[in-house]
């Protein structure tokens, strides 16, 4: 088993990369408007379609998927619990609350401002979650995700209440259910900031891995545990908030992808981070393509598709090895 696992490691990453490349091409040619392969270069309108809509949409799905998977991984590292992710532990809901408040109080704010304020709100919400999660007994690993669900639910309810009072309920669904159909050139570029966060996470990968050993082991190895917690919180908050602002909540990516990669490759983040990012991109882009095909020429939002696909994968993970908490 041991040698097989070692050999398997780089392979998982390569497979994810290859599948991603195939999906990338597929995504450029999937949509309402027919776009035969040969017409892309010969026809000016074809190039225009690709550059303005299909390419930005594809890149947005890749960026969102990769960064959300990494955000989930870091969230699990910070909470020292495999069953939390930003969309089920109050981070995404706090970001929604942030955007909603900006929209109410400062309707003219641009995307960057909204993104920043949503990130700040997510940071506060996630810090509160972690402060409580660290007080829960480590012998009860399911308390943390349960608390996260309740906590996220309470904030989500507050968001709905405020939106209802302000007659913004319809507007709200833009953020609560992820959808790439509105992504055009000039409307998704902030997601590159999420990619930047992924690169940053890769630089501190060793420290993050040591943090999974716990506070005492981290301090014993000379790591500034508090500072790393704060850094991790910023990464998680910025990634989640930006993807909520640009495309809306995409559930389960941060939960299932890191868990699957951990099973296959272990938890040494220096080695697994690229595979987690690539697999997250594959999952989200794949679900988006699926959503475009299911009832062509109409679309099913990626948030809905992911809710089904991600939920099934998660159940499979839970039932396959229930003892492996």
């Amino acid at each position: 088993m041991s040698t097989a696992a070692v050999k398997q490691s780089p392979l998982t990453g390569w497979i994810a990369g290859l599948v991603l490349a195939i999906l990338f091409v597929l995504s450029l040619f999937t949509g309402v408007d027919e776009l035969p392969f040969g017409r892309v270069l010969s026809d000016g309108r074809g190039i225009e379609l690709v550059l303005v809509s299909r390419l930005p949409r594809t890149l947005a799905a890749i960026l969102a998927g990769a960064s959300l998977a990494i955000a989930g991984l870091i969230m699990q590292t910070l909470a020292r619990n495999r069953y939390v992710e930003p969309s089920t532990a109050g981070t995404a809901q706090s970001a929604e609350l942030g955007i909603l408040l900006v929209t109410l109080l400062w309707p003219a704010a641009n995307l960057l401002t909204k993104g920043l304020i949503a990130s700040a709100a997510a940071l506060i919400g996630t810090s509160l979650f972690l402060a409580t999660a660290h007080r829960l007994p480590p012998t009860q690993p399911f308390l943390v995700p349960l608390f996260g669900l309740v906590y996220g639910g309470v904030i989500g309810a507050a968001v709905t209440f405020v939106a209802w009072q302000a007659d913004l309920l319809q507007y709200l669904s833009i953020w609560t259910n992820g959808d790439f159909s509105g992504v055009l050139r000039g409307r998704y570029e902030l997601l590159w900031l999420g990619a930047l966060m992924v690169v940053f996470a890769w630089f501190i990968a060793d420290r993050l891995t040591i943090m999974t050993l716990g506070r005492d082991a981290s301090i014993g190895l000379g790591i500034d545990y508090r500072r790393m917690l704060q850094l991790g919180l910023v990464i998680v908050s910025v990634i989640s908030a930006l993807s909520v602002v640009i495309v809306g909540v995409i559930p389960f990516v941060g939960l299932v992808v890191p868990n699957i990669v951990s099973r296959l490759m272990g938890d040494n983040l220096r080695g697994t981070l690229p595979a987690v990012a690539a697999s997250g991109a594959v999952l989200v882009l794949g679900c988006d393509i699926l959503g475009r095909l299911i009832r062509h020429p109409y679309e099913v939002p990626v948030g809905t598709v992911m809710g089904c696909v991600g939920g099934l994968i998660f159940l499979w993970l839970l039932f396959r090895r229930p003892s492996d908490v």
Partner: protein
């Protein structure tokens, strides 16, 4: 030298440590013994700056533990906590490798690899090096954690009940390894032990704690006596002499 001066610790109204002053010179094995709740683990985690000092001072080789940068201390002192749980799926070699972080900041050098291999050899882990921690038995996992503390290669090594989960063979093996690094490499080992006979056989000095205070302090021959042990543990036990090594018959 570890110098502890007037250290007290409270959790709410409970007094965990009461005005402890203690000097542990460089080199040799010092065993901390005492009943549950005596404050041994708390003292160890204060020395290793895992808890903030409330009063008093602790310094290691002249570096105060509360003001010296964490990174620098990690090259002087290593600690293995009693309740270390490794929930991450890391391979044994990776886990032991992370102990080199204070030295190489994540990029393993050739020297790091030598130290890691030595440590794996020393604790009979070479065959398990590529196994995930969560597939090991309790004793194997404990050995991996001890190997990790070893590979940090600090002058001071603090171990909190490292014999937990180890069978007789590996318990003896670990104590002999500790003796060897103390004698040959001049390391200073401070170890919390529940098995006082291991302390009697391998330690140079035994410090007995009770209710947050130091109850007795001396060589194994001075300390392992029926009247002293009764005062610490609360029941009478005979002590036999096996060729110069005191053996406490605590089970009778």
């Amino acid at each position: 030298m570890i110098r502890i001066e007037n250290v007290s610790l409270r959790h709410g109204s409970a007094e965990i440590l009461h005005d402890i002053s203690l000097t542990i010179p460089k080199g040799g094995i010092t065993a901390l013994i005492g009943p549950n709740g005596a404050g041994k683990s708390s003292l160890l985690s204060l020395i290793a700056r895992l808890q903030p000092l409330q009063s008093g001072t602790i310094s290691i080789d002249g570096f105060p533990v509360d003001t010296t940068p964490n990174r620098d201390l990690a090259r002087i002192i290593a600690i293995l906590r009693q309740d270390s749980i490794v929930a991450s799926r890391l391979r044994v070699r990776e886990l032991v490798g992370f102990s080199r972080f204070p030295h190489s900041r994540g990029r393993l050098t050739a020297e790091d690899r030598v130290v890691i291999d030595q440590s794996l050899q020393q604790f009979d882990l070479a065959d398990l090096a590529d196994r995930f921690i969560d597939t090991l038995s309790g004793g194997q996992r404990q050995r991996a954690l001890v190997a990790m503390a070893f590979a940090q290669a600090t002058d001071y090594l603090l171990l909190d009940e490292p014999l937990n989960n180890l069978d007789m063979y590996f318990a003896r093996d670990l104590m002999r390894s500790l003796r060897r690094i103390a004698d040959e490499n001049g390391k200073t080992v401070v170890i919390v032990l529940h098995d006082i006979n291991q302390a009697g056989a391998y330690a140079d000095r035994i410090i007995a704690m009770k209710a947050g205070r130091i109850a007795a302090d001396g060589s194994p021959a001075e300390l392992l006596r029926p009247e002293i042990l009764q005062a610490i543990f609360g029941f009478r036990m005979e002590v036999a002499d096996m060729g110069g090594t005191p053996v406490v018959l605590h089970f009778r």
